[in-house]
Symmetry: C2
Subunit: 350 residues, 2 copies
């Protein structure tokens, strides 16, 4: 068992060591003398009050995060300026002891991969001193499974223009939410300087099931309109279809636009039905769940620790989760292929 | 994929969808032009500053928890008074709609288990209207694997005298810690009214590995002296040993006290060596890890939601973790048996 389980104020997920005596307990409750059962119900009412206090606690934690985001911002701005080459860090700002070690560690692997890497290097680093850190964010997108799963070849040249990703929290008094801002430099694909994705959260117990409350939960998200330059929208593709006239048997060719796989579909998410989840298809729910997970991951990991995903150090930390995730990843890929890749020109109505 | 992954400000554990491109990334870093690598190191220095800010954030979260513990306390006191029978709740305080449903749900199971339950009922509920909620905490200890693993038959009569469990947080300015207080009614086993277990925490990045920081971590714990009545200490047992005199061949019987399995060993935890973990044995580290996990679980789950562990509803929520935990549980049990149960009279020096 690893100590990380004993870790953190925030380990609400640490539920190990429980679970198998449920039936015993519920039977026990149902077998209790009326007078005792009555008192148990009094405790349950107290427990509901606890859940409501807990909701307030999480709202204050959200406030704290808002407060701290202003403390992180200057560092993130500095990061952006270094990444974009707007600012050249001083020698002092660049001191990093473990240079030597890294190189040693990697010497062998590097040799093995030398040829491939050379190729990559030429393609990605034209001159020996490029501006800032080329393809900083694109490299992260390629390195993190959850993002590379969405990434298409035609997205890559666009993401080379991504300058920064920021997280903005909802103002106090407003409904709890956070916004991911993707800041782009001027580019030949769309006019927006910033693409946004808003994640709306809920931090109150369900009246129907107050005891399942575990803190704020993403309940909805909203993308933005991308103002694509003519013919540059990678989220659609134009396909030709031959149609045979029943009577005359003449053949005509019609062209139509159909959805196209792209990371930029992230800004046009599927909508959950306003009613209960039951109404949504398995696919919609799964797609939403994945989208929420990605939004949460941008906010909790990628934006706060971007450089560690660029270098791969953060992936090292996440290794313990690797096996699980690989499985999930594989399943998804299969699904996607089944849904889209295999029949490139499916009917958008489908 | 389940939505819970997209859940919560506190889901630092949600790292899915990453992990497999590590080598690629590190190679990439090592292949970067010097000027770019230099800028990456500047970002790493900024990242260290972020980790230090994050540590302050978690300290403030701890403060928030302290503040909220005072808001929960009146409800927990009410719970204690109802559990101990000091206060009889009013009819209004006991209203609970889902009575009917529960009974239906359970009717069948109950029938099946009727005989067993009858037996249990007689043994656990002598009269039809006992005082408060008999064996409230003992039932929780029996229901939660992590606790029932520690529980011995000889602990049960003692735990029937447990009136309340409270969590106390360290004062602001003090080193971060929390204390579990086990409040007992007067009993025939020991004089202490309260048994305590202090968990010391650390909320700052390791200088050696600042990027692995994920929030406060339990680093040490301290039990308390139990003032057992003569002959009532269940954490030791007296065993007889025959010794044969080498020369004369005469046999004499010596008695000695040896450690005995008991939940109350929880208040006499193994000590980690003050130096680096490396110095501790696998067994010590595993034992400490389990102890930290249990302390964390009391604080995060049992104390805040006791009634839900009594009824089993909380175990329902934890079901998704069941499989994993069963495995872990099993391994442990085997270990323990291997270490203690099998050779009942091992030498305490060992």
């Amino acid at each position: 068992m690893d100590t990380s389980k004993g870790k953190g104020d925030l380990g609400v997920q640490n539920l190990s060591g429980t679970g198998d005596k449920l039936v015993h307990c519920q039977d026990l409750e149902s077998m209790l003398p009326k007078a005792v059962k009555r008192r148990v119900h009094a405790l349950k009412r107290l427990q509901v009050q606890c859940a409501n206090i807990e909701a307030k606690f999480y709202e204050e934690v959200h406030e704290l995060e808002r407060k701290y985001s202003t403390l992180y911002q200057p560092l993130f701005d500095k990061r952006r300026d270094i990444v974009t080459g707007t600012v050249e860090p001083t020698d002092e700002e660049c001191e990093w002891q473990s240079d030597g070690d890294e190189d040693e560690e990697l010497a062998e692997e590097v040799k093995e991969k030398a040829t491939i890497e050379e190729a990559k290097k030429e393609e990605t680093m034209p001159q020996e001193d490029p501006k800032g850190i080329p393809e900083f964010w694109l490299t992260i997108f390629k390195s993190v499974d959850m993002l590379s799963d969405m990434l298409q070849e035609h997205d890559e040249p666009i993401l080379k223009h991504l300058r920064d990703i920021q997280v903005k929290f909802s103002e106090p008094g407003q409904p709890m939410s956070f916004t991911l801002e993707f800041h782009f430099e001027q580019n030949g694909y769309f006019n927006n300087a910033v693409l946004t994705k808003v994640y709306k959260m809920k931090s109150e117990p369900d009246a129907s099931d107050p005891f399942s409350f575990e803190g704020p939960e993403i309940i909805d998200c909203e993308g933005c309109q991308i103002d694509w330059h003519k013919g540059k929208d990678v989220t659609v593709k134009t396909i030709k279809k031959k149609q045979k006239h029943k009577g005359r048997g003449t053949v005509r060719t019609v062209t139509k636009q159909v959805p196209n796989d792209s990371f930029f579909n992230f800004f046009n998410p599927v909508k959950a039905s306003p009613d209960e989840e039951e109404d949504d298809s398995e696919f919609t729910l799964a797609t939403l769940a994945t989208d929420f997970e990605i939004g949460h991951f941008f906010r909790e990991r990628i934006v706060p620790r971007a450089v560690l995903y660029f270098t791969g150090e953060a992936l090292e930390d996440d290794e313990s989760f690797e096996e699980e995730d690989m499985e999930e990843g594989d399943e998804e890929e299969q699904d996607e292929e089944g849904d889209e890749d295999d029949d490139g020109d499916f009917d958008p109505k489908a």
